[in-house]
């Protein structure tokens, strides 16, 4: 009966805790009913042995204190020996305590011993349950009170004895209800835990299956042809290097974040097998990247507004697309609010154009950073490479880069392009345009 905690899993916790609480309930009753024995002291003059009444008060207070303390600190079900000791004490208390009054007066002045002792059969009901031992204990209590009042047998004795029997019976019923409740709770908790385990297991399986499919496809489509080519002694060419870069980027993405790899249909012509030219079309009229995810043109679908056409999602799609093409992007995208839709689209189109320019003009670069930060009020986008750059003195800034940059200005933003020959290019998109006089290459 003791030591149940050790073998219990977490759902069984509730069963043990319920037993603890039931033990405490008996403890409360024991402590509360101890006050009854004070009452005979008020009939001091009518007592035959007042000192016995004093002993009763002291002993009952001590016993009730000890019992309540033990019940409060019970780690599980109310202990058998505690209840047994309580019954024995009550038997003794009734037999001895009743002697404080004259024989004919016991049933009157010392009747307060009964409410004190009635708690004992409740403890028996909670601790021992239904059974011979419990019935014997209750019978002992009844017999003790019958003997205590012996010459003075009245109808009241009947109601006292019924009291002992009923407290036992009612405690049995309450204990059964509470235990049924705690068992049902434990079972529900166990079911919920099992459902979670199943869910986690299924998720894991589905994910590992998806991961395997993606890995298989990526290796087959993007890595194996290159490795085969090299293994067969194929000559390195610019196209091969380009394909190898792309394969490396895609492989890296699988390793770092397989969950981020959605099976996607690329609209660009590079998804073919041949190591062809990187898409040379101007970025201005390309379908918005967000559309690649199958959401459709999207602006009418209000419910998808944030998920599919939010700036962060759109920029992430741009990142994915260029990474798939082999651009060694180091992205940082942190968007906390949504600027107006037209601004979002202009920014994303300009970002695509800047990245497209890096692919076309920067030469071999080992790192291109894309920094996107903003909220509903302002957005900053920086595209920075360390490629060949160009000489601002000979190339008209922004001129050759026609297309989507002017749209930024139309929406109240500003584009800055700073470049040095050999020092790479930095494209800064700000929305809204900063006030005049802010440092940084003014257009």
């Amino acid at each position: 009966m003791t030591g149940m905690v050790g073998i219990m899993g977490p759902p069984q916790d509730v069963v043990v805790r319920t037993e603890q609480r039931m033990a405490r309930m008996v403890g409360y009753a024991r402590a509360a009913c101890a006050t009854f024995v004070l009452v005979p002291l008020f009939g001091w003059d009518q007592l035959r042995h007042p000192w016995i009444a004093v002993v009763v008060v002291v002993a009952a207070a001590a016993e009730a204190g000890w019992f309540s303390w033990s019940a409060w600190h019970s780690t599980s079900r109310l202990a058998d020996r505690l209840v047994l000791a309580d019954v024995a004490f009550c038997v003794a208390l009734m037999l001895v305590g009743s002697r404080a009054a004259e024989p004919g007066e016991r049933n009157r002045i010392m009747t307060e011993l009964v409410p004190f002792s009635l708690v004992a059969p409740a403890g028996v009901g909670f601790a021992l349950g239904i059974g011979v031992a419990g019935v014997v204990m209750v019978a002992a209590l009844m017999a003790a009170w019958s003997l205590a009042v012996l010459p003075d047998v009245t109808l009241k004795l009947g109601s006292d004895l019924l009291g002992f029997a009923l407290w036992y019976a009612v405690a049995l019923l309450i204990a059964r209800e509470l235990r049924a409740l705690s068992d049902a709770t434990a079972a529900a908790q166990e079911d919920a835990a099992a459902a979670w385990r199943l869910f986690v297991e299924q998720e894991r399986e589905a994910e590992s299956l998806r991961h395997r499919e993606i890995t298989h496809r990526e290796i087959h489509d993007y890595l194996l042809p290159i490795v085969d080519h090299v293994a067969a002694g194929g000559t390195p060419s610019a196209a091969l290097v380009r394909e190898a870069r792309r394969g490396a980027q895609r492989a890296r993405r699988i390793i770092m974040d397989p969950r981020g790899m959605d099976p996607r249909v690329l609209t660009d012509d590079t998804s073919g097998s041949g190591p062809g030219e990187p898409p040379a079309s101007s970025g201005s009229d390309v379908v918005p990247a967000g559309a690649d995810r199958g959401a459709g043109p999207g602006e009418s679908q209000a419910s998808r507004e944030d998920g599919e056409t939010g700036l962060e999602a759109m920029m992430s799609a741009v990142v994915d697309m260029f990474a798939d093409e082999g651009l060694p992007l180091v992205p940082f995208v942190a968007v906390r609010g949504e600027p107006p839709e037209a601004v979002r689209e202009a920014l994303v189109a300009a970002t695509r154009e800047a990245l497209r320019n890096v692919m076309r003009h920067a030469g071999p670069v080992d790192e291109v950073s894309l920094f996107v930060e903003g909220d509903a009020e302002e957005v900053l986008v920086v595209v920075r490479d360390r490629g060949v750059g160009f000489d601002p003195a000979t190339v008209r800034r922004g001129g050759g880069l026609a297309g989507s940059y002017p749209a930024i200005s139309r929406h109240g933003g500003r584009v800055e392009v700073t470049a040095r020959p050999g020092g790479g290019v930095k494209v800064t998109l700000r929305w809204p345009a900063p006030p005049a006089g802010v440092p940084g290459g003014a257009p």
């Binding site: 073998i7 940082f332 950073s369």
Partner: protein, 276 residues
């Protein structure tokens, strides 16, 4: 202290020594060649931490985060334990892996794919007792700082702007020149940034004991009692660890349902972190 010293004819400046720990010979060879070309003395390449001579005292160790044997943050911690300065590198490490390496004491991180030039600048800075923050690391640090704010000694606006500049692809020298910052001041800022990153990790990542419980209960499916016996603690302590794991998991996974049981949180997080 350095055996290669007499070979160096270029006056009194001792060449910096570097050890490279990486299990890919292709990567090691080309990197070692470039370090040698830049005037470093390069120790024999080690394919694993165990293969590195324990008595070696290079000025900087370039350590890949995915190694056979002791790997990742544990490898960095081991090297730091030997009093070595560590520059972490990887081509595939996730944000968590990189930040764990920083928390374990790495003084910088560079992508494995970058040109030798950045590698050499980074290793030089780390060897001199400084830090190196690549654009990628700056992005990771910024994101970590905005997702998991510290209650005290959080990085200030200057430091945040420094990270923003680095994440935009500028180098530390360029930023110092642009803002009129001395390199000593920049160094102090980086020290504070790294310190904050370490404290952030300690607060929001499972402690070693919590990680142990996550592996036992979350990955191996042990009951509380079995886990308690394996760890030689009380059952209630295991439950406490799991509750702490759940709190940390919810803090870093705002989308997770708040009703998630502790053992499920442990399972999901352990899988996400690649435990077990």
């Amino acid at each position: 202290m350095n055996a290669e010293l007499p070979d160096q004819v270029a006056g009194d400046r001792r060449p910096l020594s570097v050890a490279i720990i990486d299990d890919h010979p292709i990567a090691t060879e080309s990197l070692a060649g470039r370090f040698a070309g830049a005037g470093f003395s390069v120790l024999a390449p080690a394919p694993s931490l165990e293969a590195l001579d324990p008595a070696a005292t290079p000025d900087v160790v370039v350590c890949d985060l995915h190694l056979p044997g002791l790997s990742g943050a544990a490898a960095v911690a081991e090297l730091r334990g030997r009093g070595l300065r560590v520059l972490a590198t990887s081509g595939v490490a996730t944000s968590d892996e990189v930040l764990d390496a920083i928390a374990a004491g790495a003084a910088g991180f560079v992508d494995k794919t970058v040109l030798a030039q950045q590698f050499i600048a980074a290793a030089t800075a780390v060897a001199a007792g400084g830090h190196h923050v690549s654009a990628r690391l700056a992005g990771f640090l910024l994101e970590d700082a905005s997702r998991r704010r510290l209650a005290r000694d959080e990085i200030d606006d200057d430091e945040r702007n420094l990270l923003r500049g680095l994440a935009q692809g500028d180098t530390l020298d360029e930023l110092c020149a642009e803002w009129g910052l001395t390199s000593a001041a920049a160094h102090r800022h980086l020290l504070r940034i790294f310190d904050a990153a370490r404290r952030r990790r300690r607060l929001h990542r499972p402690s070693p004991r919590e990680a142990e419980v996550m592996v036992l209960v979350g990955c191996r499916g042990l009951s509380h009692k079995e886990a308690a016996r394996a760890m030689n603690v009380k059952v209630s302590v295991v439950a406490d660890y799991l509750r702490a794991v759940r709190v940390k998991y919810l803090a870093s996974h705002p989308d997770a349902p708040v009703t998630i049981p502790p053992s499920t949180a442990a399972t999901l997080w352990a899988r996400e972190l690649g435990f077990g």
